[in-house]
């Protein structure tokens, strides 16, 4: 974790692919960090939801990922950069209900093709880029009052 003078907060977190029990640890950390910074509850919740859905995606599909959280006045940025199979067709992946999830993911209560939609809907700005065979990069921005 590194901190600069410019940011209210800046830190990195690692997610291990395939480790289903660990899914949610990073978003729980992000939630408590934002709470401590005095960010309002509804904003904290949005940030926790988007980072949690992203974590579920990483443990479900990727080898590993780094989550970069930066907080500045008026803005929370969360980037999730994974090493994994990538997404061949992002438009299709963004369609609600489209999923390539296996049984294990579904047993956790996910894999219904809603994760990326939830991330987009709870973010004020959302960007997704992906390269097949390399990985996927999500950037979520949430405004704070």
């Amino acid at each position: 974790m590194g901190e600069t003078n410019q940011n209210l907060y800046a830190g990195n977190f690692n997610i291990e692919g395939g480790n289903f029990n660990s899914a949610g640890i990073v978003s729980t950390s992000i939630k408590s960090i934002l709470k401590k910074l005095g960010i309002p509850g509804d904003i904290v919740r949005k940030a926790a939801i988007v980072s949690y859905e992203a974590e579920i995606n990483v443990v479900s599909y990727a080898k590993k990922a780094v989550v970069i959280l930066t907080v500045d006045p008026g803005i929370v940025n969360i980037e999730v950069i994974d090493e994994g199979p990538g997404i061949p067709n992002i438009d299709l992946a963004m369609q609600e209900g489209y999923s390539t999830a296996d049984q294990k993911i579904r047993e956790m209560g996910f894999g219904a093709g809603m994760g990326l939609c939830n991330i987009k809907n709870y973010s004020d700005a959302f960007r997704i880029t992906s390269e097949v065979g390399k990985g996927t990069h999500l950037k979520m921005t949430i405004q704070t009052p």
């Binding site: 949610g24 219904a112 809907n121």
Partner: protein, 124 residues
């Protein structure tokens, strides 16, 4: 209503949170799909579900869910119980099915955390 009354109405066993039964609750959401819970459930609501793994606790924590009601006689794993204790999220277990659980609570004044979804894609 207090969580204690929820417990009585559902003849539920308190698995985690015996010390926080004075918690006040007004609304609930029921689903086994955690992505739907994340999409629709509101802070301070009860979460009625048949899913028992640790992701239920993570989901509840992310959303500031007041308490989890496990339906259909489901019992949580030891990992789930440990995480719920760590994150201070009460778990009650009832033998009633989801429909009965919801109906019994609704009759006593607990309402859905939203009555219906706003549009066909169903998003806030």
């Amino acid at each position: 209503m207090k969580l204690r009354e929820v417990k009585d109405i559902l003849e539920a066993e308190v698995i985690v949170g015996d010390d926080i039964l004075d918690l006040e609750v007004k609304t609930a959401f029921g689903a086994d799909l955690m992505s739907d819970v994340l999409a629709f459930a509101k802070a301070g609501s009860l979460l009625l579900t048949g899913l028992t793994n640790t992701q239920v606790i993570r989901t509840a924590n992310v959303l500031d869910i007041a308490a989890i009601i496990l339906v259909r006689g489901k019992k949580p794993s030891s990992e789930t119980i440990a995480l719920a204790k760590e994150l201070k999220i009460p778990i009650l277990a009832t033998k009633y099915i989801l429909f009965e659980t919801a109906g019994r609570l609704y009759m006593k004044g607990i309402v859905g955390c939203l009555p219906k979804v706003e549009n066909t894609s169903g998003r806030n």
